[in-house]
Amino acid sequence: MNDFRPVQMSSPVLTVRQVDAYHAITVVAPGIAERFRSGQFIAVAVGGEQSSMLLRRAFAIHDVKPDYGGTVEFLFAVRGRGTAWLAERRSRDLLDIIGPLGKPFPLPRDPVNCVLVGGGYGSAPLFPLAHALRRRGCRVDLVLGAASAGQVFGAITARRVAETATFTTDDGSFGVRGRVTDALGQVIEDARSDVVYACGPMPMLREVTALAARHDIPVQVSVEETMACGTGVCMSCVVPVVGGDGITRMARSCVDGPVFRGERVRFDDVGTIPFDALGAPGWKARGDEESPVREAG
């Protein structure tokens, strides 16, 4: 595991670009680039040395390149204070970055048919995944959705890396009007998909998971819960996840995820402590003797 452990670095910004509704920052970060596997993310400190913002911001790694010893690209929408600050960076500024973080997407051993589903900036980690799958001989189909045209990310690249690329927008301004799940069923059938990979907002992941279940194929989801550290120490990013033993634990999405098997995530209980979760109030009464030797995470 030592080879994969994350590194913290002060990375010079190479470029800052505007890509549709997103900003894309490329930094020089050899240690992160070389360790990266698709699905992993970085945690970025924001606001400089005397910043009033203590918490790191998590961004999926969208691309790594070998230039300058290794570069890492991420893209983001301006949302609050930290992303506003990031959007103002210029080349040569330094960013304090930790990565790569989190569990990557598991790759199939065999060359199977994969459909990758992304919502908004959730598309970002799917591009390196698509490349990795293609290298293994997998068929890749993409379904990318967003609220409207500007937020659909990477349409051109999508058409290049994927066998088929389907786009949906809530307002119909680009591709099919509707949600990714409105298009996904058809794609699964047409492409005879063997597995689904999805990244995007929780409600989308829940629906994608349900849909995969209906098609009886496995689904890997990359979840997004509020994060503060990204390294597993703050316990802020928990989601209820069912373990191999059938027990639900409050799992940290930064280290136990962000990628989980879809059917293991209790989407309906996100934002709660399910009554039957390990260590939930009243939990003890239920299973006093079975002495659980594993915890959440």
Partner: protein, 315 residues
């Protein structure tokens, strides 16, 4: 000159005065990816309870100016798993393991102390008094000096005599010095302060509390002045009682402030979320600060801010 960084807090001897704050260092493994955890004075664990605990629902945290609010709710594996898995791992890495404990009543605390005393290698027990007292409708033990004393007495009675017991205090109490005194009289070998400060944030979009459930604990540099006032005040009243100071330590200079105020050691909490190497960086910066000031022994600085202006610091 290489400054002597050893400190002594009563019976607790540490190779240097920098430790992690309870609940901010995971199981130790997460941080060990970034630095050798044997290099710092001690690793203080998150508060261990008898049973596994799921904690509070998300969102558990919110960012505030130079601080954060949290309500994690002591999520953890329980003492069983801790003793089987986490403690041995910490010891195998050469870390000094200080174990924070939390319970619903003196009995649970006592049981935890007993279990920890049977295990080898526990360097210190820190009694988290900000845990809800089940007998008093969830009020923190720290709010009631009587209840706090009962807990400390129970732990001290059950803990092996060679394991120092520190009482961890919350600043949100009517009379901090009074509480400190009561804890010491009940057998605490030292004090750790401060725990988080009660606070709140409201999400102006959802128009609801930003942390699920409403109030949370405020931590980080924002509370450092509050923590320093607490340490200063308690050290002034009880100069012989060892204190572990914490609350917003981010740099070596911050650590120095706590030492000068009267802390014999300092713990780094929230800063770890920002910088996983914070503890070793703080240690390095502190050492550098001593060199710059020509101070040979860090221990000589403890409480120096209380001395008359101009009084020389004994090197």
């Amino acid at each position: 000159m290489i400054p002597d960084l050893r400190v002594r807090l009563g019976e607790l001897e540490l190779v240097n005065p920098v430790m992690t704050a309870a609940g901010c260092a995971g199981s130790g493994r997460e941080l060990a990816q970034f630095f050798d955890i044997a290099r710092i004075g001690a690793v203080v664990t998150k508060s261990v309870m008898l049973e596994p605990r799921a904690g509070r629902p998300a969102p558990r945290i919110a960012e505030t100016p130079s601080g954060m609010l949290s309500a994690v709710g002591l999520q953890g594996p329980g003492i069983e798993v801790f003793l089987q898995r986490d403690l041995p791992w910490l010891l195998s890495r050469g870390a000094r393991a200080a174990v924070s404990v939390a319970g619903g009543g003196p009995g649970e605390y006592a049981e935890l102390a007993r279990r920890l005393s049977e295990a080898p290698g526990v360097a210190m027990i820190e009694v988290n008094l900000s845990s809800p007292d089940l007998a008093r409708r969830g009020r923190h033990f720290a709010h009631d000096p009587e209840a706090a004393a009962r807990v400390v007495r129970a732990v001290r009675a059950e803990a092996r005599p060679d394991i120092p017991v520190f009482a961890k205090l919350s600043p949100d109490v009517p009379d901090l010095v009074g509480l400190a005194r009561v804890c010491v009289e009940a057998g605490a070998d030292g004090l750790a302060m401060i725990n988080t400060v009660r606070g709140m944030a409201i999400d102006v979009d959802t128009m609801r509390p930003a942390v699920a459930g409403g109030p949370g604990g405020l931590s980080g540099p924002a509370i450092r002045p509050i923590a320093l006032a607490c340490v200063y005040e308690v050290h002034a009243a009880l100069p012989e009682v060892p204190v572990i100071g914490m609350g917003g330590v981010r740099t070596g200079a911050d650590a120095l402030e706590f030492l000068l105020a009267g802390a014999g050691a300092v713990a780094v909490g929230t800063a770890i979320f920002h910088d996983p190497s914070a503890c070793v960086r703080v240690l390095r910066e502190l050492e550098q600060a001593l060199v710059e000031r020509g101070v040979e022994r860090v221990a000589s600085l403890v409480g120096a801010a209380h001395r008359a202006p101009g009084a020389a610091v004994r090197g």
